[in-house]
Structures are given as C-alpha cells and as structure tokens.
C-alpha cells in the first residue's frame, strides 16, 4: 500500500515537471507536454495506427527473443559442458560482444532482404549472445560437491545434466534472458528505422519528417510502457512461477 502510494506520487511528480518544463520553456511543437501527447496517443489508437505498430514491433521482438533464447541455451550448454569448446569459441564470443547489432543492419539487410526476416535475425543475434553467455556461466558454476553428491547418489551423466546442471543453471539463464529482452527492444527500433513500414521505430522516424514531435513522444513512451510490461511479466515468471530455482541458496 505504502509502495503504491510512493509509485503514484513519483508518476505525478514527473508528469507535473514535464508539463511545467514544456509549458514554460519550449514551444509545444518542439517539446509537447503530457496533455498534448495523451491526446495524440488517443487519436493514434482510434485510427488503429498505434496498435498496428505495437503488434509489429512486439511480434519481431518476441520471435527473435524466442529463437535467440533457444539457440543461446542450446549452444551455452554445449560450450559450458566442454572446456575445449569453450576455449575454441572464447575469442569469438568476446570479439562479437563489442559489435552492436546496429552495425550488422546493413549486411543483414543485404543477405536477408528488408522484410521481417532481417529484423528477426538481428534480434536473434542479440539475444543469442546474452543468453549463451549466461548459460555458460550457469553451467560452469555448479558447485563441485553438488555434482559429486549426485554421483554418489547413483546419478548417470544424463541424470546429472537433467536434475543437477540444468536446474542450477536456470537462475543464470533467466537473468540472461531478462537482459536480452531489453537488448531486443533496443535492437528492434533502429532496425525499423532503417528498413520497415511498420513498428514503433518506423512511427518515430517517419514522424520526424512532419515534425510531429507529439507522435514521436507517443512512440517513445509506448516503447517504455511495453518494455516495462514485458519485464513485469518476466519477473513474475522468474521469481513467482520458477521461484524455487531463483531464490538465493
């Protein structure tokens, strides 16, 4: 209850500050206030434009995120399970880590066209790395005594993987997936800005041509809102549904 009150106060304070700053210091065309943005958002919803863009962006994010998580977990388990593999791939992992997905937009568009595939590929790329690295971390930090206890209990290598390694790694994997969800949102926007005819990134870049700052704000705030919603959902799964795996020992 107290928390809720603090949240509400925080939102009210920020909205008020936003209103005051835009009203007192800027022309509404350059920096629209909360009322103007809300009005514009309502209009976009009525036209059906905002829903279409949200569905387009979210669809790309979820497709790439799901695919990237699956690949990341799979590759992470393989690399995590073999020291040779780990050493073999180590230089590439840390080399590629520094290349932002945005740098890949051009070649990816050349290879996969300007359709949906190229966006999903970029998001998959981003997600795969984050999830793979966290999976490797999870697999390689299983306490030795935990493995030995399972061996002494008669567990086969397959059983050790299923009942000891995978559950131990799950907490780390979820941490990586949560980060990757954020990276996916950060990737989808520039991809849509450069090559798309739908999505929130497209909405934002396209509105620039008409100096529609209110629409741009709607796009930016919507991004934050759906990001926050996804993260809340994720946290609920991570700490609620899967809480027994994520609680600190």
């Amino acid at each position: 209850m107290r928390r809720l009150a603090i949240y509400a106060t925080s939102v009210a304070v920020v909205l008020l500050a936003w209103h005051l700053i835009s009203a007192l210091f800027f022309s509404p065309v350059l920096f629209p206030g909360p009322a103007a943005v809300a009005q514009r958002a309502a209009a976009l919803v009525q036209e059906g434009q905002l829903q279409r863009d949200v569905v387009a962006s979210l669809g790309r994010v979820l497709a790439g995120f799901a695919l990237g998580s699956a690949v990341g977990i799979l590759v992470g388990f393989v690399i995590g399970g073999s020291a040779t593999f780990r050493t073999f791939l180590d230089p590439y992992v840390h080399f590629l880590r520094f290349i932002t997905p945005i740098a890949w937009i051009s070649p990816v568009m050349i290879w996969f066209g300007i359709g949906e595939t190229s966006k999903v590929v970029l998001i998959t790329y981003t997600t795969t790395f984050a999830v793979m690295l966290s999976t490797v971390a999870g697999v390689t930090t299983v306490p030795r005594n935990r493995l030995r206890a399972a061996q002494a209990c008669g567990a086969s290598p397959r059983q050790i993987f299923l009942f000891v390694v995978a559950p131990t790694a799950l907490a780390q994997i979820l941490v990586g997936m949560r980060l990757a969800m954020g990276y996916s949102f950060m990737t989808v926007v520039p991809a849509e800005m450069l090559a798309a005819e739908s999505g929130l990134g497209y909405l934002i870049i396209h509105s620039r041509l008409w100096l529609a700052t209110d629409t741009i704000f709607v796009g930016i705030l919507t991004l934050g809102a759906i990001g926050l919603t996804m993260d809340t959902l994720f946290r609920w799964v991570m700490f609620g549904l899967l809480g027994r795996y994520t609680s600190p020992a």
């Binding site: 030995r148 206890a149 061996q151 209990c153």
Partner: protein, 259 residues
C-alpha cells in the same frame, strides 16, 4: 575398505609442478567399523576420502571396498560433505532426501515413504516441505545424512560434516550419529581435525602426518565403552596423547612452510 600403497598427486599441468598429496598410504578398515581420520588442515584427509568415494583415482596403488577396486562413485558409498553446497537448493528437504531413490527409479509414493522415515530418523519430522535455505546449518547436515541413509549403503563417508556447527549442535549430532551407526551397522569413515570429536565417535583413529606427501603416521585404538563421556579420565589421557602428536605435525607443517 583397503588402501594399498596408495599415492596421489595432482597433474602438473600448465607449468605447476606435480604436487604429491598422499604417498604410500596403507590402511584397512573393517566392515561395520567407525574409523576417524585425524590430521592437520590441508594434509590430504579429504583427498583420501575422495579416492574411496571414487571422485579421484589414485596415481599409484589400489583403493578397494569389499575386495573390489573402486572404479567410480557409487551408491554403496554415500558421502556427507562439509558445507551445504551439496544440497539441491531448489528441492525441499524431503525431495533432497529422495534424490538417490529418484535416480534409481523408485516410484513416487514409495520413495516419499522412505524419505519421510529417514527425516524422522534424523529428527526432522515436520520440516519435509522446507527448502534448505529455510533451515539452520545443523538441520541441513541432517538432511545430508538422511539423503545418505535412504539408499541403505553399507558405507558412509563423512568429510568434516559438523565442522561449521556450533559446539552444542555438534555434540548433539555426534551422539545421534553414533546411535544411527549402531542401528544400521554401516562402516563409517569420518574425517575431522577435532580430537574430541574423533574420541567420541571412533573405534579407531588414524593419525595423518602433515603434507605434502602425507601418510598415516599411526593408528590409535579407542578402548572406551559406549556411550562415551567427555569427562572420562581415560578420554582425557587419550586426548593429551593425540594432541601431542597432532601439535608436532602442525609444527612440522609450519616449519616446512617457512623454509
């Protein structure tokens, strides 16, 4: 259990010189015996246990149980570890205890029955549904013991299981362990650096030399009746004798470290 001229050294890879931990260890532990290994920290006691558990293989010599050489870990030699990191934190107390039965394919209701009984034996009735993080250090060690006894293994290998507990909890668990041992007839190899603990528990005590290249210096019979009392005169006399030897080994280790 037998150790026949057992030597163990870590592989000297990546520039580190090969490190000899144990050399020429000879030891025989009888079926049903309670044997304590006593020695200064870092002397190789745990390595000796790991060889018997099958977690490590000897560099030379043979380790065997019941006449058969140890080829790897197995349910006939359950291990109780020092810390609590061997428990499965995502499983409840009873699920942790069931683990070995689950691996063996015992049906759900049957293994729940056996595990609940094991929890009762170690005094954890009513704690079945709690997770390890919700239990105290003493309770967690009881879970480990329960997890080890459900498989009815003839041997129990315990690596300083009570070292991290407070003194009261430790002596309580020591007494309970002796009762459990008397009830099951299992062979127990128990590692400790606590002389009083060894005297309360053991039929015989193996005293180890300071490492590196440690071996068993002598084996001391404990001719005390059970249940044992810490204020027994003979207990005090044995304590003094063991303490003298152990101090000598610790000083030797220190001198070697300084040299």
């Amino acid at each position: 259990m037998t150790f026949d001229r057992v030597t163990f050294a870590f592989d000297g890879d990546t520039g580190v010189a090969q490190r000899r931990v144990l050399s020429d260890v000879r030891l025989e532990i009888a079926r049903g015996e309670f044997f304590c290994l006593l020695g200064p920290s870092g002397c190789g006691k745990t390595t000796l246990l790991n060889l018997l558990a099958g977690f490590e293989a000897p560099s030379a010599g043979t380790v065997a149980m019941g006449g058969r050489a140890i080829a790897g870990p197995g349910v006939d030699r359950m291990v109780v570890f020092q810390g609590d990191d061997s428990l499965f934190p995502w499983l409840t107390a009873v699920e942790n205890v069931e683990f070995g039965l689950r691996m063996a394919g015992t049906t759900g209701s049957e293994r729940r029955r056996i595990a609940t009984e094991a929890l009762r034996v170690v005094g954890l009735t009513g704690q079945d549904a709690k997770f390890p993080r919700q239990l105290s250090g003493g309770m967690k060690q009881r879970i480990q013991i329960a997890r080890a006894i459900v498989c009815r293994s003839p041997a129990l290998l315990m690596d300083e299981p009570f070292a991290a507990l407070d003194a009261q909890m430790r002596s309580l668990l020591q007494d309970e362990l002796v009762q459990l041992w008397q009830a099951t007839g299992a062979t127990i190899l128990f590692i400790t650096h606590d002389i009083a603990e060894a005297l309360i528990l053991a039929d015989r005590i193996g005293l180890m030399t300071a490492g590196p290249g440690a071996t068993i210096r002598e084996i001391v019979d404990v001719p005390l009746g059970r249940p044992r009392r810490r204020d027994d005169l003979e207990f005090g006399r044995l304590y003094e004798r063991l303490n003298r030897v152990l101090t000598e080994e610790v000083q030797r280790a220190l001198a070697r470290a300084r040299a």
